[in-house]
């Protein structure tokens, strides 16, 4: 097996292959790091032939903070706080991923109540993340109104979180040994009220965006990703499932209380932008199902089983655990030497692998398609650079 390595410079100075009877040239454009549709500081170098995209080269590193390296200097509980800043729309799932690997390695106990609360807040956050994606997706396709609708409804979930957790975005709620606080007395009531509010809103969303003929025209058959290529590129989450692979860690390796609840894994057929759109919209509905099954049956019990000041020591060795965030598989690899802080940490983040699918999808599309594809992957840039 040979690996072909080429620098950006080499690619840019390559031969022009513009296809036109006129004497035209291909040209390069920097999309980002400051661009409305790259959702942060992502830089894409585009090789364009007129409006047609010939090549996309993602360039990373603009928001690299060395989160994994910083993790080596603190203890395990402090690292939980850091991972909030990776994929900030799945902060709770990130917390849980670290918690899971620490609990598994250090053989810490949890109870049913803790697991139920963790499952509930993570599903709420999945809805929250998908609502934000829906709004931004509409905006990237040129419709401004969905953005406000999506954000308006997402804020209500943030309000629910704020009552229990005290934070709206970077929550560090799920900790090794439990959750930081018990749920707010009004949590159950609020969540039920929100779900009964959201369900008719989803119908409204469909009327505004899903059923719009322009959206259907813009998305169907655009940015196809075959199942084989999706697996080869390491895509996970809705991107992989839209390509027809029913891989969801909540089903295949259930954690939390996912084994006890009944839900479906929506799967696409073509792997185009439309399938990715549909899969996410359907996942919102499935998350609602999961929450509805759990919200009335939160068991009684303590919510934090270790003393807050207790030192956590993980036995020496290599530990790995993964779970399904709103964007795909987040795996945390922990190398421990038995001390209080980890020897080495590596996070396998979903967005990094999902991003590289853009090269596969975008070739031959238009600039407008590229924006739709990038948005349908639903990247969060701080999760790519870490």
């Amino acid at each position: 097996m040979s690996v072909h390595v080429s620098t950006l410079q080499a690619r840019i100075s390559g031969e022009s292959t513009a296809s036109s009877p006129l004497s035209t040239e291909e040209y390069f454009v920097n999309m980002g790091p400051q661009h409305p549709s790259t959702h942060g500081v992502l830089r894409l170098v585009l090789r364009l032939d007129g409006e047609t995209v010939r090549e996309v080269v993602p360039v990373l590193g603009y928001i690299h903070r060395g989160i994994e390296k910083m993790g080596e200097h603190g203890n395990y509980r402090q690292f939980v706080h850091l991972v909030d800043r990776m994929d900030y729309l799945s902060a709770l799932a990130n917390n849980w991923a670290v918690t899971m690997v620490v609990e598994k390695a250090a053989k810490m106990e949890t109870n049913e109540r803790i697991e139920a609360i963790r499952t509930l807040v993570c599903e709420l956050q999945r809805i929250q993340s998908h609502l934000l994606w829906w709004g931004v997706f509409g905006m990237d396709l040129g419709g401004f109104t969905p953005f406000f609708y999506g954000l308006r409804d997402r804020e209500q979930i943030c309000d629910i979180f704020e009552k229990t957790i005290g934070a709206r975005l970077t929550m560090n709620y799920i900790q090794p040994g439990g959750v930081m606080f018990d749920i707010h007395p009004e949590f159950v009531k609020d969540v039920k009220a929100f779900l009964s509010y959201l369900k008719p809103k989803l119908v409204e969303y469909d009327a505004l965006l899903t059923e719009n003929v322009i959206i259907q025209e813009r998305l169907r058959g655009i940015g196809r990703l075959s199942a084989a290529r999706a697996i080869a590129l390491g895509a996970t989450g809705p991107v992989l499932r839209a390509s027809g692979v029913a891989h969801d860690l909540r089903k295949s390796e259930p954690y939390g209380l996912y084994a006890q609840v009944d839900f479906d894994v929506p799967v696409g057929t073509d792997g185009d932008c439309w399938d990715r759109y549909w899969v996410r919209m359907e996942e919102i509905r499935q998350s609602i199902r999961i929450i509805e099954q759990l919200i009335d049956n939160i068991p009684e019990g303590k919510t934090f089983l270790v003393k807050p000041a207790a030192k956590i020591k993980v036995p020496a060795g290599i530990h790995y655990s993964h779970l399904e965030t709103a964007r795909g598989v987040l795996g945390v690899l922990l190398v421990s030497n038995g001390k209080e802080s980890p020897y080495r940490i590596h996070c396998r983040t979903p967005n990094f692998n999902n991003l590289w699918c853009i090269g596969e999808m975008a070739t031959g599309g238009r600039i407008g398609d590229l924006v739709a594809m990038l948005s349908s992957i639903d990247i969060v840039v701080p999760d790519i650079d870490r």
Binding site: Y27, G142, E217, R218, G368, D369
Partner: protein
């Protein structure tokens, strides 16, 4: 009831034999009035757009500056005046400066031909429709120059998109205009309005008028670069399209002419299809027509134009954007054939006199 049309140009002509200075003063006042109208209408439209957009999106919009934010547009205008006016180092400075002026001039020249009421029209040319079509084409020149002279690839892409789009959709818009010209039998805008004193062309022509109106609205929205056809600006794709490199006053000229073009489109649509300042008349029902005449013609024009502007804003805050190739397909494969068929059917209607209340 017959309408006496007297334009400002005619009144100036009447003044001329008496004293050329009075006539000159009159012209000067007219120029001032048109400029003032353009400015005020621009501010009002921007405020209306912000408020309407806000209420479409479940928010309240500007609320702080003045009562319900009515002075917000003025504050924005002052901000734009204060901003540094940047001409990029590698830009073609002359063309860069000329582009917004051209864009603005195209809009301003159309403005003088609009019949707002029998007594409020600057000039009433006998080739009015042709003049409007020709002069509004100047705007695209401004956009092309702006994108080209900025020396920025995003601007260039936006300008090229705008060029292709506006020129393509002009064809359909003109075909739709021709339907009304056929029925009215004149190119003069006040003549077209007066030809509708037994009913508006949108319903008098057995559907031909309605189809032409729909085509005109779609093509017109594309010509003024508004969503779902805002590809030239294409914020999420091209950052800001052709005016990426513009700031301060020059940007505000592009911005203002964009909004005033919306007014021009609405005014043209209401003049051609909804009777302009002509009240709602149905045939020779004198009672109904008399009641409708109670409202002054200027108010009728304002109401119709406002309704169409609201419709255009509604488009913008509901629809996502089309893609470049879909845009071209819509024009050349869908709108244009329908437009041609519609034109032939209308011609047949006109020749046979087969429409409501034919003379």
């Amino acid at each position: 009831m017959s309408w006496q049309v007297k334009t400002i140009a005619q009144r100036t002509g009447d003044l001329l034999p008496g004293s050329p200075w009075t006539a000159a003063l009159y012209v000067l006042l007219t120029i001032l009035a048109v400029t003032a109208f353009v400015t005020v209408a621009g501010l009002v439209l921007i405020y209306a757009e912000r408020k309407i957009a806000a209420h479409f999106q479940c928010r309240v919009g500007p609320m702080r500056v003045g009562w319900h934010g009515v002075l917000q547009s003025i504050a924005d205008a002052i901000k734009l005046l204060m901003k540094e006016d940047i001409v990029p180092r590698d830009a073609d400075a002359l063309l860069h400066i000329l582009a917004p002026v051209l864009s603005f001039a195209g809009m301003l020249l159309v403005m003088i031909a609009l019949p707002m009421s029998p007594s409020l029209q600057v000039a009433d040319m006998n080739i009015g429709v042709l003049y409007v079509t020709a002069v509004s084409g100047l705007g695209v020149l401004g956009i092309l120059l702006g994108g080209w002279s900025s020396n920025n690839k995003w601007s260039l892409l936006g300008a090229m998109r705008a060029g292709a789009q506006i020129i393509s959709y002009e064809v359909s818009a003109t075909l739709a205009l021709l339907v009304v010209v056929l029925f009215a039998g004149t190119l003069q805008l006040s003549g077209i309005v007066q030809s509708q004193d037994t009913g508006w062309w949108i319903w008098r022509a057995h559907g031909c008028g309605l189809v032409a109106f729909a085509i005109f609205m779609i093509a017109g929205t594309a010509e003024i670069n508004r969503t779902p056809f805002d590809l030239a600006e294409g914020e999420s794709e091209l950052t800001a399209g052709f005016h990426t490199e513009y700031s301060g006053l020059r940007f505000s000229f592009f911005f203002l002419s964009e909004f005033l073009n919306m007014f021009v489109l609405a005014a043209m649509a209401s003049t051609l299809f909804l009777g302009g300042w002509m009240p709602l008349h149905i045939g020779h029902f004198a009672a109904l027509n008399g009641v409708m005449d109670l409202l002054p013609p200027g108010l009728w024009f304002a109401l119709k134009t406002t309704a169409i502007i609201f419709l255009i804003m509604w488009f913008r805050w509901t629809f996502p954007r089309l893609r470049v190739d879909q845009l071209m397909r819509l024009e050349w494969k869908i709108l244009l054939p329908i437009g041609f068929v519609n034109l032939f059917v209308s011609a047949a209607c006109v020749v046979t006199g087969f429409y409501f209340f034919a003379r």
